[in-house]
Subunit: 430 residues, 2 copies
Amino acid sequence: MSQNQQITSTLEPVAGNGLLHRRLFLTGGAATLGAGALGLLTARHVTAAPPPEVPEWMKAPGAPLSGYGRRSRFEAGVQRYVATPAAGTTGAGASRTPLERLNGMITPNALHFERHHSGIPDIDPEQHRLLIHGLVERPLVFSMDALHRYPMVSRIQFLECSGNSRTIIAAAPQSGTCGQLHGLLSCSEWTGIPLGVLLEEAGVDPQGRWLLMEGADAAAMTRSVPLAKAMDDALLAIYQNGEALRPEQGYPVRLFLPGWEGNISVKWLRRIAVTREPTMTRDETSKYTDLLPDGRSLMFTFEMGVKSVITSPSPGLAMQGPGLYEISGLAWSGAGRIRRVEISADGGESWAEAALTEPVLSKALTRFRLPWRWDGGSAVIMSRAVDETGTVQPTREALIAEKGTRFAYHINGIEGWQVAANNEVTNVHV
Amino acid sequence: MSQNQQITSTLEPVAGNGLLHRRLFLTGGAATLGAGALGLLTARHVTAAPPPEVPEWMKAPGAPLSGYGRRSRFEAGVQRYVATPAAGTTGAGASRTPLERLNGMITPNALHFERHHSGIPDIDPEQHRLLIHGLVERPLVFSMDALHRYPMVSRIQFLECSGNSRTIIAAAPQSGTCGQLHGLLSCSEWTGIPLGVLLEEAGVDPQGRWLLMEGADAAAMTRSVPLAKAMDDALLAIYQNGEALRPEQGYPVRLFLPGWEGNISVKWLRRIAVTREPTMTRDETSKYTDLLPDGRSLMFTFEMGVKSVITSPSPGLAMQGPGLYEISGLAWSGAGRIRRVEISADGGESWAEAALTEPVLSKALTRFRLPWRWDGGSAVIMSRAVDETGTVQPTREALIAEKGTRFAYHINGIEGWQVAANNEVTNVHV
């Protein structure tokens, strides 16, 4: 079969309601297609008009160089969704990443989601100290200068708040954009010190099995972490996407536990106590614990499940009439790499495999894409991720059957977007 | 051999002047070492003092959530190095990434190096148009709305100005930080449309072999690009590290040619003309052409050579006396992946292999690291990269022997940092 034959065959639907093969745009950048083979694309907002006039901004020299750049004023509308704090609280709440306005796998630092329990402390790194004590041979206090001397590693990995996507279990679908519904989710390159190196310095007593982690915010956020995770892949993160952590991400140093619920990656880290048992802090008992239908509670459910969301098309991004679109989204799993993402455009009756953008990294966001020829009629699009352990993202129905409707964390069910003939996209339960 | 024995053996030098084995910090986060095995680390700015007092910033709620975050005021000193523009020019010049203040492989957008020929245009994306014309079946004009409908790909790749590291060929070593000397170098996740898809839409005439690329800045920056590169891995980049391109990086759309000299990735792209021959523009004849010793000129030397720099220790980052350090830096090649980086701490007499941080990606920056026990005496440290084609980063001497001292681009020779007993680090020719 020649390359051109292969491409022609990719224009045939591979699943219901117009899904095309993931190879369509991947074979040599479409360079091997005969001229006009796609056809449908030229019908877009493309004109064969005469050359555009010389715009104003070419008629005089532009702005000068700068020490620390800013984005275009025309992008000022791309903002985190800031939830109004509950009455009587100060500095507590969350802001969500506008996933539908971004592309790729990296979240820029200024748009990384936030979750604070008593606001963002303004920490002077010269004065900040990190204490390691408890069941150790040598209690130690580190300055930031000392930490900067230690060996570092870098990893691209996601962070997801365990309360993300809570609206999935609401009885009726909630309106909102992809970011408003699922934006307690971001991905960065984290650089820092393997926690095991510092614990080794202190000398952990054989009876030590857990670590109490305390943040230097006004809430003194505290969580218990199993020693095994600390020795596995835990980082004391100091850099995010190349530069120093942002204040809302824990400047000057935070714990980062890859693949685990965001809350336990304690920010503004000031204290690590080695303990025999978990400390049962306020932040792991009154919150971040899941109430089951039978009245029991699930505690220490650290790992985030396999999950995916379609970022485009999605609510707030209007369709532009029938034609060829790219369905694009994000998949991730706390258990490791994403193995496969499938997409349905007919509400789950048939599925097609999406292309995964390399590199597909463990515990990182993975961008997936699939071409879709929308016929202009009503369609329900949805995605389903499978991770390297073979675990499949559950349906909403299966999730509720297992855990009821009173739980509030680790919600990874499949949701759908309804694409309507009037070009609008809305959230639907599927 | 047990794991502990392996680690003990990594504490033995693997090359002259204190270089230790790259496995030292990579075996399970040092978790398998017996308590105190490193020893040397505890001598640092670490104290076994009583717990630090509760700092001021824990005594009252902190700052609220925000739509678009900012970095800490304590990091305000981390800035691009802005070169003073030549007299009589407006908006022309370069700023350099402060490589020695960053870590990991990603450069944050606000610190990506800049090179402008007539400043940064303030482009309204609603009004911006991209024209494809010349030897095509159908001249086309694209709005940004139209471009956003096309399929996209994402790749993490470096951009290096072909004039980077020019001081290497100066007769005497120039003083400056790593960023001041080598900072026309950055790395981002670029997301955009494979250029081949749009050329396919226009239908390239079989006689078309080159593309003229024109930017919408006041200099109307123009370069000629071989069609083969456009069909290989060229992107029309729209997103950088997740968000819309920054104005100084070509907002709303730029050409991105992986592995090639930065200047040819034309920013603010407004026009692509398909031609038979290169257009021989001002920007590829009066500049970006290399004068050889015999008076001939090398033109269209697109690909950037294999290269590496040590970012730490480096000038401006004072040493803190004898002890264990991490030597860390960046390696890259326009020809593909980095295969190996070697480090010398004795001015090139002996070499040890550094650890490469995964993922090692084609045409991306690769972070390398190696532990070093500095004895406090004078030492010259240097790095040497080898790419997947087997090409070895040349010495300064070999580079000058081949190309003389009147060339100004594609300077990838090895330079050294002199670490002195007084804790200062300076640039030296090696």
